[in-house]
């Protein structure tokens, strides 16, 4: 069979990234240009500033990618792009760029859902085995997804309010850690003790999550201690917070695996880099004889390599867009057939 090379573009938030992936699993080259240092000054991603940076970088990133891969656009089989969900102004730059490349080269255009990309980041490590359950945890998502074959997604449960990564970043902000603070909370959590009395977020038998309650609990606790003139033990607070979050995430994930009689678990999204979560899952999966897969650390955050991996399987399913493809800030992964 002829090799399929996909040129993938990801610009859904504050990373301008492009990648060339062969046959859905072999990375030829990837370029990721992060704007983190720019947005740090504002305590979070400013959408208008992100868009302005994407447009400045878009052709430069492509040139760097082609040089790194030592390839020309003629050697590419198809173009893939994240069309959503994400920041609309950021997504639009990637989508317009992808449509233009498709128009000029005559190569097909594959629309990829951002979460499908995060899931397929695991395919760059090891071929996915089905059926599987994916725990998607990032700054914008917290979901449990069931897959019985490639590019077929069934949602089992998800967050009812904040995403887990968003909750981490907000907690980090309250205790004075610089944006993006989530990874810093994880780091401090390994230095402290589980001493603070915090609630377990939506600790029921459903597969849904809710993180706004524990976020408010942390904010209130910090304010109350401040008013009393007490200092917060940041390490202990992070340890306690991380314990509640990972306890519930791990418990619900293991329950889902048991109920669906699945022994393959993949973790995806930015929070899959969280060491505390990795340790707890490794322990539980070992106990329950479950094959556990994480993306490599550099692919936990947003990147185009994962989009190129997912696109290969979308392409094999015939998911192709025409020149009217547009970006969608909000989109359901579970209606992929209707693109």
């Amino acid at each position: 069979m002829k090799d399929i090379y996909i040129l993938a573009i990801e610009s859904s938030c504050d990373e301008t990234s492009m990648s060339i992936i062969k046959n859905g699993s072999v990375e030829i080259a990837t370029v990721v240009l992060s704007q983190i240092d720019i947005h740090k000054n504002y305590g979070g991603v400013v959408p208008e500033i992100a868009s302005r940076n994407h447009i400045e970088n878009i052709t430069i990133v492509l040139e760097e990618l082609l040089q790194k891969a030592n390839m020309k656009t003629e050697n590419i089989t198809a173009i893939a792009v994240t069309y959503g969900p994400g920041l609309i102004g950021s997504l639009l730059i990637g989508v317009q760029a992808a449509k233009t490349i498709s128009l000029v080269t005559g190569k097909p255009l594959i629309p990829v859902h951002h979460i499908a990309g995060h899931i397929y980041a695991n395919n760059l490590e090891k071929r996915l085995s089905f059926p599987l359950i994916a725990l998607v945890v990032s700054g914008g998502h917290t979901e449990l997804v069931y897959m019985n074959e490639d590019y077929s997604f069934k949602k089992i449960g998800g967050t009812l309010d904040d995403a887990v990564g968003e909750c981490y970043d907000k907690v980090a902000k309250v205790i004075g850690l610089e944006y993006p603070g989530g990874p810093k909370v994880d780091k401090l959590a390994h230095l402290g003790k589980n001493t603070y009395n915090l609630p377990y977020p939506l600790n029921d038998n459903s597969y849904n999550f809710s993180f706004s309650g524990i976020k408010s609990a942390v904010i209130n606790l910090v304010h109350n201690e401040k008013q009393k003139g007490n200092t917060i033990n940041k390490e202990n607070l992070c340890t306690s917070f991380q314990d509640r979050i990972t306890t519930v995430l791990v418990k619900k994930t293991i329950n889902a695996l048991k109920e669906y009689n699945v022994n393959n678990l993949i973790v995806a999204g930015g929070v899959s880099a969280n060491i505390g979560l990795r340790e707890r899952l490794e322990e539980e999966c070992k106990k329950n004889n479950i094959n556990l897969s994480f993306p490599r650390l550099s692919y936990c955050t947003d990147n185009a390599a994962m989009i190129g991996a997912a696109a290969y399987y979308a392409y094999k399913k015939g998911i192709i867009a025409d020149q009217t493809l547009t970006a969608k800030a909000v989109d359901n992964l579970y209606n992929q057939k209707f693109i």
Binding site: N41, Y42, V46, E48, I49, S51, R52, I55, E56, I58, T59, I60, L62, E63, T73, I88, G89, L92, I93, V95, Q96, A97, K99, T100, I101, L103, V104, T105, D322, Q323, T324, T326, A327
Partner: protein
């Protein structure tokens, strides 16, 4: 010489294909909020209609703002990517200057509503040399009109596309990597941060 003219700065989108500065076809549509869906489709259609392959286009003339931030970015992204891939000539012209090209007067002023009694304003001499291109309040605009007594071109006045493309013939070729929108206005978050400093 085949030129592709692209303007997506405001809700009226204008795409034209020209041969030696004469229009072969043009598409002009009012599509508020739908630029991201239709602009590349229009380009695809206009090329097909004239049986011209994208690789046969020799130059791109793109209007790079000011206007709606997102609208401007759509046209500029397409234009710079197109020119980068095909290695053809690309030139930019602002939406303010494009409006006065082809019109005659000692002074010419073009204006685009920037909301809340503010305007994007361009002021040019009779040879279309720029005197000012700025984001300004209505008061400053009124003062400018009083001082120069210019011919005023508004955002609803149509572009004279053949004149614009001809005018850009003398402009220097630009590097696609460094082609970016002209916003004339900082993002709100940056304005606030500046004030804080």
């Amino acid at each position: 010489m085949i030129s592709l003219f692209i303007d997506t700065c405001l809700s009226d989108v204008s795409i034209s294909l020209l041969k030696n500065n004469k229009i072969l076809s043009y598409i002009s549509n009012n599509i508020p909020g739908e630029h991201s869906i239709y602009v590349t489709k229009y380009i695809e259609n206009i090329l097909k209609e004239n049986k011209i392959d994208p690789k046969e286009v020799n130059e791109i003339v793109v209007v790079n703002g000011p206007g709606s931030f997102t609208g401007v970015r759509i046209g500029v992204t397409i234009a710079k990517m197109f020119a980068y891939l095909t290695k053809i000539r690309i030139v930019t012209i602002t939406s303010l200057k494009a409006r006065v090209i082809g019109r005659q007067s000692n002074y010419l002023l073009s204006m685009i509503d920037a909301k809340h009694d503010n305007y994007y304003v361009g002021l040019y001499d009779k040879n279309y040399n720029k005197i000012k291109e700025e984001f300004m309040s209505k008061d400053l605009l009124d003062a400018l009109v009083k001082k120069y007594n210019p011919l005023i071109v508004g955002e609803k006045d149509k572009y004279l596309i053949e004149d614009i493309v001809k005018y850009t013939n003398n402009q220097k070729n630009e590097n696609p990597h460094s082609i970016n929108p002209i916003y004339l206005k900082l993002p709100e978050a940056m304005e606030k941060n500046d004030k804080r400093v």
